[in-house]
Amino acid sequence: MSSTQTPAAEEIAAGGRINPPENKFTSWLSHLLADLGKNGIFLALLAVILFFAVVTDGILLRPQNISNLIVQNGYILVLAIGMVMIIIAGHIDLSVGSVAAFVGACSGVFAVTWGLPWWLSIIMSLAIGALVGMWQGFWIAYVGIPAFIVTLAGMLIFRGLALVVLGNANIGSFPTEYRALGNGFLNNVFGDLDLDPLTLIVAAAAVVALIVGQFRTRAGRQKYGQDVEPIVWFVAKLVLITLAIGFFAYALASYKGIPVTLIVLAVLVLIYGIIMNRSVFGRHVYAIGGNRHAAELSGIKTRKTDFLLFVNMGVLAALAGLIFTARLNLAGPKAGDGFELEAISAAFIGGAAVQGGVGTIGGAIIGGLIIGVLNNGMSILGLGIEWQQAVKGLVLLLAVAFDVFNKRRSGGK
């Protein structure tokens, strides 16, 4: 964390004087530094975007490419949401790529081979994901086998089952509605215009909701006498976020509109953000990851929580499998290869701790976006897959090393 906070912490430890001398400037500075510390990962994303924007001569930021970035990485971001929750609780899931492939194959059978309606195929596929999650959750939570082993086994089991379901062939040509999950755009409601108005309206609504929400949170805190950040800094941040959303919306609007994948993602981020930040269940997940014994002795049902986390991961892995299959319009044996590693990387780049107890949904999403921008930027540059792999590995290592270094410096555990 910031250097201004370290002496304060020492004073607490010594049981001595508590409050450092305060004036307007130091309080300003401490808020700024605290925010930079908290949002360091966000700055890293900006740096990566800027870097590739420059070296690709702006191709990275072209409307079409921005739209592609979301669609190409949607399934990784979906997985990262579930993965970071698992990691916060102190587990890991190596099976998500195989589960995505297995569910993708099942959905192929439902929607193409059997010709079931697209919506029923999707529901049945998600249910299979839940069943897979229950299977793994049972072994982990109730039998007590480490998640690493159970999901390593799952990685093999479900890859194998995916091949069995596919019967050594690709299943392809999905119904249009199904394909929308990976390829569709919400647009042209108001006719075919250069700038899609719906996209802009949705973005404006999102900005208004954000600003109202932030002001209400702030007012609530003030009512309870809590410390809030200076109004200038608060407003400045909102302006920056508004500009970023505006730019992003403009890019989407001038291309094809809002990708369906983005809508799915936005809904997930909203729901899971609330779950992890505000819900009792989320508190339990953090408590279990932070200190399992203490959580147990506080009356938390740790097994049930673990079980539900894996069921949830199964459903999200199924969703990722559907999005990927829809995008390729093909359920194939190679689907989902290496997804688990990208999702795990996203969570760790986004600040999750290997020992558990620490991590955020937002961090995992940003971590996933960093990986996405790296993939995309390096592809534009024409870098081969071999170099892309190496660079991503290096980024993961450096991100976690930076985190470890930061924690050591601040004297945290």
């Binding site: 805190r221 508190r283 953090y286 408590a287 932070g290 959580a295 938390i300 107890g357």
Partner: protein, 509 residues
Amino acid sequence: MTTNILEMRSITKTFPGVKALSDVTLDVGRGTVHAICGENGAGKSTLMKVLSGVYPHGTYTGDIVFEDEVVEFKDIRDSEAKGIVIIHQELALSPYLSIAENIFLNNEQTGALGLIDWNKTNHEAAKLLARVGLKENPTTKILDIGVGKQQLVEIAKALSKRVKLLILDEPTAALNDEDSDHLLDLILHLKEQGITSIIISHKLNEIKKVADTVTVIRDGQTIETIQKTDVTEERIIKDMVGRDLEHRYPDHTPNIGEEIFRVEDWTAHHPQDPTRVMVDNVNIDVRAGEIVGIAGLMGAGRTEFAMSLFGHSYGSKISGKAFMRGKEIRTRTVSEAIGAGLAYATEDRKHYGLNLLEDIKRNIALASLDKLSSNGLVNDNEEYKVANDYRKSMNIKAPTVLAKTSKLSGGNQQKVVLSKWIYADPDVLILDEPTRGIDVGAKYEIYAIINDLAAQGKGIIVISSELPELLGICDRIYALSEGRITGQLPIEEANPESLLKLMTMEKPR
């Protein structure tokens, strides 16, 4: 050559802010068994760590004379080279290696090319095992033998290092009666072979059985050294506790009501070894507004009792009944226990009490999230307010409740743990070592909080290894020994002597 193998002269050892040993003198006769007694925290283990080089020369003052030679150990290897071997309470054996491998760990029996000579290793190990009377194959893995036999392996390991002075720290604390007897016989047997032993023990009958000389340590000072013929239980107990009860406890006027909590025939077994009874038919009761103490030496089963009661968090094959206000309650899970009005604040804050990654606010709320939430969503403004109220009322020293608990001092961490349980609003609080690792000022505050809770009509059970603390704050004290309640004393009749007598009372054999 004198008759003393070891003389420790005027040993003083200070830790930041604490004088752990002050001018301690210890003379150990060659070929004798020398017992060291003292309460928990008296300084026995510190003294042995000084002797064995765990605390190297230069970190203490005073001289150690071993075999008529002033020695200055830099680490434990130095002392082992001279023939001083310490066997700690926590055995230092690697469970997945064989007996022979453990015996010769870091002292491997090598042959040509520096490779391990397994025949020699196992043969030598077998000879050592015969000396300690352990009939096991040297290739058996440590995890396949019981803790009593593991203790013997430790001694065999010491013998392999040509031990002259063997130090045993509470060697029988984890053993059953048969294993204990065997170990004590072995110590006497080694004495015949000329090996001197120092044995640290609480158990007075044990000391009487093996020791030639007893030295009592209290508050980091030598009280006296007694020859075998003069040893009496009364004398040792008096030496161990004879400290003034200063005015370290807030005034407490008990206002005791009806019985609020009762436990009947509570029995629990060791979690891994279901044949070992850890809590043996415990019956206790607590009345509203009463502070009840549980006194017991290390290993008496205090924490085991409390944790087995609180959601079966410890042990196996647990039986017995618990009643809250005369109505039987179920405590099979922690949430059941909390729901029935019980709370348990652990003796080990860092491992069992707090989530050190989180802030004060979330730690206080953790056991009572139901109160702070509707439809599964936590009201974090309300949470902040609740935590902030506790920060003020409990005097938790932190700038805000958003401070991480890992940054707090021990006393303030303990106040966070207590806040958590007080907010859960139980009828009965079990406080396990509530002031362990806390400075004197914070202790006083904790005692005041305990009094306050009793005044609100709650039943309080305090488990403590510090007798003065129990005598200072309790209305009634139970004594626990070897998992059994050996008696209870109202505070008027309780004193260190009477309590220690009950705490060291052993099972009729």
